[in-house]
């Protein structure tokens, strides 16, 4: 059936089954492919998007449950936290294969919006839902601390 959802500030109507995960609507129907598929069971975080500003695993949310919520994907990131995190990611050359990094970046920005100066423990708690099989974790941690310093000004 038709579902109308708000993604990156625009209304989109898609004709898919109710149980279609938001991830596949974003990727297959709206061609927003920055959000990645890694596991389909909310174990890896590659599919992280924001629902009303809160990070969410889009592989495990059926499109019928989105309702009036506003969805934001990596393609529409804006704001100083996003700029600081993405600049730090580039500065530290965090990505290797890069496939999980959209999700990592989304989670890192959400963390910095929540906690201005995260400790290592805060980073562990906020980021341990995002798997990186290349194990770029050392740099993810360094880049988050660096982005926090940038935001401090």
């Amino acid at each position: 059936m038709a579902h109308t959802i708000t993604v990156n500030g625009s209304r989109h109507s898609v004709d898919v089954d109710d149980d279609t995960p938001l991830l596949w609507v974003l990727r297959d129907n709206l061609q927003l492919t920055g959000t990645k598929f890694g596991c389909g069971v909310a174990q890896c975080g590659a599919c992280t998007v924001y629902m009303d500003g809160q990070p969410l695993r889009s592989c495990s949310l059926p499109v019928s449950a989105v309702g009036e919520a506003k969805i934001t994907t990596i393609e529409a990131l804006a704001g100083k936290e996003a700029e600081a995190v993405q600049a730090a990611w580039v500065k530290h050359d965090v990505p290797q294969c890069g496939y999980c990094q959209s999700g990592q970046v989304m989670s890192a920005i959400a963390l910095l919006k929540e906690i201005r100066k995260p400790t290592d423990r805060d980073i562990d708690l906020a980021m341990n839902g995002n798997l990186c099989r290349c194990a770029t974790y050392v740099r993810i941690r360094a880049a988050i601390h660096d982005a926090a310093r940038t935001l401090e000004g």
Partner: protein, 724 residues
């Protein structure tokens, strides 16, 4: 748009103005090579393409065509560095993209076919890409000399700017077209390393792919979308070697979005308008499997069999002196038996591929690691001449060896799926994490039985019996097997860097119906652990320090000894401890021509799990082309290795894979990642690889630290939660 149209339009695009192709990798290097150009013109729309590896555009960008797949290990940045160095380009003008599959132009010089593996990208390219850059530089200089009417020798190049003492100067783009009309020089002189401005310089060559990969813009195979494309998933047999007996697709075809269902050699393919309908369709499919030829043994049965075999005589893989004679007479024989499970590669992007075709030609796009094999496989299945098949390599979302397929199983399945639905129906084959983990091609299950003796503070004998599966057997690489020894089963174990008077290593090769494959650092994933745990155990029994004891045995291996000294220095080694509940363990492994030593600091953490706090690592990989990429590969190699020795196992229960997703195939998370400090030992030797060598030492380093915390060195991996 059909495959034919696309190929034509692609060719038009590739023709470009004034493109000139020189087959750098061919014997007639240096001469215009028109034969290759008929198949593929690497010039693209560039004004100047001095050879198959470089395009220089009027806008001044220099694009390096990279024949190796980029899946994180850094060849885009590495090969661009080599070109930019000799070209005297500015790093900001450098770009990189994958070259199309072409065995003539782009064979790996170490393989003879196009492919990536064995940590060879930089080793292969160090001279080849520098020559390509130097050739382009000479032609640009010549073009400027003719334009300015000055001798070429008087022109200098710096950061992408050509200059003459008269004050004349210009950028590459301005001379690109004129250069394209010149004959390439037959010989070029390469820089003396003392003149390097980019190679080996920290901070000079940030990765070319970081921004795209930090913004979601980088395109992977799974991101391909074309009009009318069908998404395909395949139902495969639950046990390896199973076949389709019959199937009923009536319910699957009723799923909204499912377009068709077809039997293919590897299973039953469901075609749909998107991923979710394809998955729902597959769920609704009823397949009866013929398992008469399937492998029904589980990991438990295999280990029991292997343990028995390890006690019988195997094929000798390495020997000097008479270890058995010494062991028979020894007062005490020290024994350890190490068991290694099957492991999945589990790249973050499960394997996938895109293909469109008709009788005129085909275009395949996938994260191919052995392009030539995949290219030929697709051509054969579609019954097209290879010249009609274009294979484009996509960025790979990880591989760890999984994409380097002698069997070409992915490309074959992709071609079969496309063939079954017929021409002019573009398909994207996708696999789920469950497909990936239960799909085989694992690091084989192995058993190492080690026996040794110590007398008067010295190791007097070493005997190893290795039992496992050979994946080279029956593959196109079978010729590597000599005298019954598959070298990648025993590498690192049949010759030791330690001088032990009486030594023996035997191999038992067991046929098992589970498809297996190389897995980041290949044989060293298990031999590194067995050898380094056992040497540590023997040294401990001999009352020797783990560092000093190893150094004393490394007479002929000075590079490795130097790296061990460097790691000990970095870690401020003062014995294994423990100090304040933390002990240190050492792992020393030479692999793929690179020498790596890791020292891990470990305590017993929550729930009795090993907690790795810090790893100090020293590496000698010859000339360090991109120091920061080397550090990144070591950090990642340590995390990858650690995750698997702690948690990784793919268990078979009566032939069926048990772990199906990341909830059961536990993977290292950020809170489990240690701090890493790396020292790159300066070297003027030819560069070797870094993609794999960071992996093997971490396992034994952790085990050897545990041995100083009152634990046994784990005999069965993984260390945490092993089920067999």
């Amino acid at each position: 748009m059909t495959a034919h149209d696309i190929n034509l339009s692609r060719r038009n695009l590739l023709k470009g103005a004034g493109a000139l192709v020189i087959g750098m990798s061919l014997p007639q290097a240096g001469r215009a090579q028109s034969g290759a150009a008929q198949v593929f013109k690497p010039g693209g729309d560039a004004a100047f393409a001095p050879n198959a590896f470089i395009r220089i555009a009027a806008d001044d960008t220099v694009t390096v065509l990279v024949k190796h797949i980029e899946f994180g290990q850094g060849p885009f940045t590495g090969l661009a560095t080599l070109v930019a160095e000799e070209l005297d380009a500015d790093w900001g003008q450098m770009r990189a993209e994958h070259a199309v599959a072409d065995a003539k132009l782009y064979a790996n010089l170490l393989f003879g076919i196009q492919g990536t593996g064995g940590s060879t990208a930089i080793a292969n390219s160090y001279e080849q890409m520098r020559k390509a850059g130097a050739t382009a530089r000479a032609m640009l200089v010549q073009a400027a000399a003719e334009a300015w009417k000055v001798p070429a020798a008087e022109i200098s190049v710096e950061k992408g700017v050509l200059k003459h003492a008269s004050g004349k100067q210009g950028r590459f783009g301005e001379f690109a077209e004129a250069a394209s009309k010149l004959q390439a020089p037959v010989e070029v002189k390469l820089k003396d390393p003392a003149q390097f401005k980019l190679i080996g310089k920290d901070g000079a060559t940030p990765r070319l792919d970081s921004r795209g990969k930090s913004t979601g813009k980088a395109q992977f195979t799974i991101d391909i979308h074309t009009p009318d494309m069908l998404t395909v998933v395949v139902a495969r047999p639950p046990r390896f070697g199973g076949k389709v007996a019959s199937f009923d697709a009536s319910a699957a075809k009723k799923v909204k979005g499912v377009v068709d269902v077809k039997q293919i050699p590897s299973g039953v393919a469901v075609y749909a308008t998107g991923t979710w309908p394809a998955l729902k369709g597959r769920e609704a499919l009823k397949v009866t499997w013929d398992e008469s030829g399937a492998e029904k043994r589980g990991s438990r049965e295999l280990f029991a069999e292997y343990r028995k075999l390890a006690r019988t005589e195997g094929t000798v893989a390495g020997k000097h002196g008479d270890a058995e004679a010494v062991l028979v007479k020894a007062e005490k024989v020290i024994e350890s038996e190490y068991a290694f499970p099957y492991l999945a590669h589990a790249p973050m992007e499960p394997l996938d591929g895109y293909l469109e075709w008709n009788a005129q030609g085909a275009l395949a796009r996938l994260g191919s690691q052995l392009q030539t094999v995949d290219h030929m496989t697709i051509a054969k299945i579609l019954d097209l001449g290879p010249e009609k098949v274009t294979v484009e390599t996509m960025l790979g979302g990880g591989s760890f060896g999984r994409r380097a397929q002698p069997s070409s199983e992915l490309a074959a399945e992709l071609a079969e799926v496309a063939k079954a639905i017929g021409p002019n129906r573009p398909v994207k084959l996708v696999r789920t994490r469950e497909d990936d983990l239960s799909g085989g091609y694992y690091r084989p299950l192995f058993l190492h039985r080690m026996r040794g003796a110590v007398k008067d503070g010295k190791i007097t004998a070493w005997s190893a019996s290795i039992v496992g599966q050979s994946f080279l057997k029956g593959s196109p690489f079978e010729a590597l097997i000599k005298d019954g020894i598959d070298p990648v089963m025993v590498e690192g174990a049949n010759e030791l860097p330690y001088e032990i008077a009486d030594f023996r290593c035997e191999l038992h090769t067991v046929p098992v119906g589970v498809p297996t494959l190389w897995w980041r650092s290949v044989g060293h994933t298990h031999t590194g652990y067995a050898v380094e745990c056992f040497i540590d155990q023997l040294l401990q029994a001999a009352g020797q320090d783990p560092v000093a004891g190893r150094l004393a045995l490394m007479g002929k291996h000075q590079r490795l000894a130097n790296v061990l000294k460097a790691a000990a220095d970095l870690a401020k080694w003062n014995g294994p401890g423990p100090v304040n509940g933390r002990a240190r363990g050492v792992g020393v492994v030479e692999s793929f021509g690179s020498y790596v030593v890791q020292i891990a600091e470990v305590s017993i953490g929550e729930g009795g799990e090993p907690k790795v706090h810090k790893v100090w690592c020293a590496i000698d990989c010859g000339v360090a082309v991109n120091p920061d990429v080397i550090r990144a590969q070591i950090e990642g190699g340590i995390g990858f290795g650690l995750g698997h020795i702690l948690y990784g196992e793919l268990t078979l229960d009566q032939g069926k894979p048990v772990q199906s997703n990341f909830d059961s195939y536990r993977s290292l998370r950020i809170n489990e990642m240690p701090e890493v400090e790396v020292r790159i030992v300066p070297s003027t030797e030819k560069p070797t690889g870094v993609g794999e060598p960071g992996v093997p030492p971490i396992g034994p380093a952790v085990a050897n630290a545990l041995a100083r915390l009152g634990r046994e060195r784990p005999l069965s991996l993984p260390m945490v939660g092993g089920t067999v």
